[in-house]
């Protein structure tokens, strides 16, 4: 079997299966733990739990001004590569075609030139994040292998995707196969590492939102 056919076929199917099973396993593993019942009366005027959770999810999207003084790079750079990834993943026409073939839904994409520019910016932003992690004394201390693996498996699809569309390096079909295989690696790793925050952020922020909302405290 050709590498490209392998990547598009069994590799992608296998990695999607691991992704789905792993995500479900991790979410169930956490959510199956017993809740901590709070029998204390809520503060007068406290929002219902669902509203407190939703508010926290949105409130946490922008840091308090006081934390931006030292966290400006982390915040801005984080937004750059998150938006960049979302744009190249969901608005690149070949990706939309793939999604349509898998799930039957589609939407308009952006011109290839724009995607290449955004992809380049995303790659630069990711490199900036890595440089910061490798040089900040705080991040050096608290980083785990998980952080570096997650970074690499996010960077590789961007780098191989850029190389494939720019026809740089290996033959196009080979680069495309490597790009798809790098996405497979990303999907396989996703449930086990911190990439899972794409799901966990709702639960994590929401849980604290409920605790603080009950007390009438601000997040």
């Amino acid at each position: 079997m050709e590498l490209l056919a392998f990547a598009r076929g069994p590799a992608l199917t296998f990695s999607l299966a691991i992704f789905v099973l792993g995500v479900v396993w991790r979410l169930v593993g956490v959510l199956a733990l017993p809740p901590w019942h709070d029998y204390s009366p809520p503060r007068e005027g406290a929002p219902p739990n669902w509203l407190a959770a939703i508010r926290a999810v949105f409130r946490k999207m922008i840091p308090h001004k006081t934390f931006l003084k030292d966290g400006m790079f982390t915040t801005i750079n984080g937004y750059v590569f998150h938006f960049g990834l979302a744009i190249v993943v969901f608005l690149f026409v070949p990706h939309i075609v793939l999604i349509q073939s898998l799930f039957g839904v589609s939407w308009p994409g952006l011109p290839n030139g724009v995607i290449t520019g955004v992809g380049g910016l995303t790659a630069a932003s990711l490199l900036g994040a890595l440089a910061y992690r490798l040089t900040s004394p705080v991040l050096k201390l608290i980083s785990r292998p998980n952080d570096y693996i997650s970074w690499l498996l996010t960077f590789l699809p961007v780098a191989t995707g850029l190389a494939a569309t720019a026809h740089v390096g290996l033959r196009y079909e080979t680069m495309l196969a490597l790009h798809i295989l790098s996405v497979c690696a990303f999907l396989i790793w996703f449930p086990f590492g911190k990439l899972m925050h794409a799901f966990l952020f709702v639960l994590s922020r929401g849980a604290t939102g409920i605790r603080f909302g009950h007390r009438g405290a601000q997040l």
Binding site: L31, R43, F67, G71, R133, V138, L203, Q218
Partner: protein
């Protein structure tokens, strides 16, 4: 009890003479037991972004990365993944997460007790909303079971078990109340069989701030309330809550709640103490497994109700003040507007610090740190933030609503040879009651 130092130079105290593996296992069992859903979600969610570092007064004033809040959880993060997390069996099978060593727990003792005031400022900085200070509290449960607690905190623990209070034996309580009443000329109610309000106290009020005891009485007498102090349940500060000694936390909670119910009180008034509020207002009901049949209210909330409803009238001071927000009352308790309403009632013009309310900087002494003499040098460094805020405010008064904050700030000023008085909101109200 023995004070020791790890290979890296970190101080730690040890209680008891159990073998190291036994301590480690006790810590892990205590940490794993009762691990609830929210704590697990938060243990899963860290992005290692480091945003919490600059929220911590100990990191900011020392520049030492070890004080990064999420780093203080490292042994328990390892334990979580090995014993509790969804992939724990895989981690154990492939040896991906080793068992936490006793050396690691010893190394982390000072970070968990000396280097964290449970102030929760890091929770507000975390983009994932991880409630780090709550997780540190969970970690303290494990550390207490391991017998790895600062000796001074353990001493308070034992004293509270023996006396019912870390400050004074129960049998002396009535005398302290009567003495405070006589000294300040205020009629006191003690051990009345029935009352609507039961008033509780904090250790500082039994030693340094005894005027607060008569100030509460003065206000309650003024409104004609049916109230009493009670020897059977007076101590609201909960050293079990701070140390991670859950049985003691339950015992001290039940003591004040059961007593108030027995007396038929509809309201339990907590003293000017932050952690008392956390332990009683938000956690008391957990020990009963149901909603409690009485209201638990902090002194500041009580004062605000009296002032805003017009039940007490205050003489206007017409001066300026700044206010230190106690973390457990404001950031983690949601009582932000009440102290400000009282200050307004006093006619004090409030100059807010740049970071105030839920974003306020901790005094540096919460979570038992002010009682843990080993942490004094660290605490004095953290004090520099608050000193600068107060100096920048240039006001005539500096007020707070927590006795422990007040002691921490007073000790900080004394250490700096800085002539700055720290005043109590309760005392100001009592001193300015209209006749």
């Amino acid at each position: 009890m023995t004070a020791k130092t790890t290979a890296s130079g970190a101080a730690y105290d040890v209680q008891g003479d159990r073998a190291d593996t036994e301590r480690r296992d006790a810590a892990m069992q205590a940490f794993v037991r009762d691990f609830a859903r929210t704590a697990a979600i938060h243990m899963e969610s860290c992005l290692r972004c480091g945003m919490c570092a600059n929220a911590c007064h100990f990191y900011v004033t020392t520049g030492d990365p070890k004080y990064t809040p999420i780093n203080k959880l490292r042994p328990f993060e390892q334990a979580y993944h090995r014993h509790i997390g969804p992939f724990a069996p895989i981690y154990r099978l492939f040896g991906l997460k080793s068992n936490v060593s006793i050396e690691m727990l010893q190394e982390w003792e000072s970070l968990i007790y000396d280097g964290c005031t449970l102030c929760g400022r890091c929770t507000l900085a975390c983009p994932m909303g991880i409630d780090i200070s709550e997780l540190i509290k969970e970690a303290r449960h494990g550390m207490y079971k391991a017998g790895l607690v600062p000796d001074r905190l353990e001493l308070m623990d034992r004293t509270a078990k023996a006396w019912g209070s870390p400050a004074s034996p129960s049998e002396d309580f009535a005398d302290i109340i009567r003495d405070a009443g006589e000294e300040h000329g205020v009629p006191m109610n003690i051990d009345l069989p029935k009352a609507d309000y039961v008033v509780t106290v904090a250790p500082a009020e039994l030693t340094e701030h005894t005027k607060a005891l008569s100030d509460v009485a003065k206000i309650l007498n003024k409104i004609g309330a049916s109230w009493t102090y009670s020897t059977e349940g007076f101590e609201a500060s909960n050293i079990g809550y701070i140390n991670g000694d859950l049985p003691l936390q339950e015992k001290m909670t039940r003591k004040i709640i059961d007593n108030a119910i027995r007396i038929g009180a509809h309201t339990l008034i907590l003293p000017e103490c932050g952690h008392a509020y956390g332990a009683a207002r938000w956690e008391a009901a957990r020990w009963y497994g149901k909603k409690l049949p009485l209201r638990i209210i902090h002194m500041t909330e009580f004062l605000a109700e009296l002032v805003t409803s017009g039940r007490i009238k205050l003489k206007k001071m017409g001066e300026t003040t700044c206010f230190h927000d106690p973390c457990q009352l404001v950031r983690r308790g949601g009582v932000t507007e009440a102290p400000r309403a009282v200050l307004k009632g006093l006619g004090l013009d409030l100059t807010e610090f740049e970071d105030h309310g839920e974003l306020a900087w901790c005094c540096g002494g919460g979570g038992g740190v002010v009682s843990n003499v080993r942490a004094d040098p660290l605490r004095f460094k953290a004090f520099s933030i608050k000193r600068k805020q107060v100096e920048d405010a240039k006001t005539q008064h500096f007020v707070t609503a927590c006795g422990q904050c007040r002691i921490t700030l007073t000790l900080g000023a004394k250490h700096d040879k800085w002539d700055q008085k720290v005043e109590s909101l309760l005392e100001l109200v009592a001193d300015h009651l209209e006749d």
